[in-house]
Amino acid sequence: MMIFTVISWILAVLVIAPAIYAVESKDLLSAAIAAGFADLAAAILFLVLQAPDVAITQAAIGAGITLAVFVYAIRRTERWEK
């Protein structure tokens, strides 16, 4: 139970810290990558919380496809936030 709590806290930090960075960053490309990292940590968190169905979807959609969609959108517009 102790180990479970520690892992949950570490994963919670790994989800929240990149999310805050993604909101605050002026570089949209690194913000998108940070959001993808937060999604990946959330996928591992779902796996720890025994929801493998959601974990598979979150890893494929969140960390894979959403990141690609953001990067393609940034390539068509501008990289730096004004």
Binding site: P52, D53, I56, T57, A60, I61, G64, I65, A68, V69, Y72, A73, R76
Partner: protein, 243 residues
């Protein structure tokens, strides 16, 4: 002429479906309150809803994955709605980026490591995605995760073939056929078992691949549909290089 034929066909289908709906639906007893039987106050059950799902899903659906049993069997109509939402989003995006797609993008050379690595990794990604949606009624996963994994394989293909897109017409044909398959399986349920998306195939042996009636068929259709739809979204966003 073609429009008249299409109108006649759709009116005929509407009349037939309305007839079957009228035939199939049992007379509703409004005196007991409510339009439907809510599991919470089901007469021969004093259990909560999750316990009832865990207890009855094996007998009702034959699927060993209870999540799939709920998503495809008990709440199959909602899943059809979700698939429609995804289809609408993909169509709207295709309309929006139609103009952008014609603008030619600068020519790029693929990264060497990505190019060689994709040859090794791509077959495994496709096989894992296919496994996830074929075994959706047995192990965690299903049509949506499997289709998303296959779409990430498409993404790898787009990253390698920097100056080419995906075969757009084949993708949209796959998507249409898969969507129609889902609807047709549901309509066959209306004809054969009196309810839309009702199971009409034998349940088979529990935990075997060929079990759980129509659930594997529906999940294969959803897997193809989601994979081709997300692939189409990525293809549209990327844009095609023109010489």
């Amino acid at each position: 002429m073609r429009r008249a034929i299409a109108a006649i066909i759709s009116i005929t289908i509407f009349v037939i479906l309305t007839y079957f709906f009228m035939m199939g639906t049992a007379p509703i007893n409004y005196t007991t309150g409510g339009h439907y039987v809510n599991p919470i106050d089901h007469e021969h059950s004093n259990q909560s809803v999750p316990q009832q799902y865990l207890k009855d899903s094996k007998k009702d659906t034959g699927a060993s994955n209870v999540v799939t049993a709920i998503v495809v069997e008990y709440r199959g109509f909602d899943t059809l709605g979700e698939v429609t939402v995804l289809f609408t989003a993909a169509t709207g995006l295709a309309l929006l980026v139609e103009e952008l797609k014609r603008k030619s993008m600068p020519k790029e050379n693929p990264n060497f490591i990505v190019k060689i690595g994709s040859v090794v990794v791509l077959p495994f990604i496709v096989v894992v995605g296919t496994y996830i949606f074929i075994h959706g009624h047995l192990t965690p996963g299903g049509g949506f995760p499997g289709g998303a994994v296959i779409a990430s394989g498409f993404l790898l293909l787009l990253l390698v073939q920097t100056n080419k897109g995906l075969p757009e017409k084949k993708l949209s044909a796959t998507e249409s056929v898969a969507g129609m398959t889902y609807a047709l399986i549901g309509l066959l349920g209306l004809v054969l078992a009196n309810e839309f998306l009702q199971n009409y195939l034998p349940l088979g042996t529990f935990t075997y691949l060929f079990s759980a009636g129509i659930i594997p068929l529906i999940y294969v259709a959803i897997g193809f549909k989601v994979g081709s739809e997300l692939g189409g979204i990525l293809h549209n966003l990327k844009g095609v290089h023109e010489e």
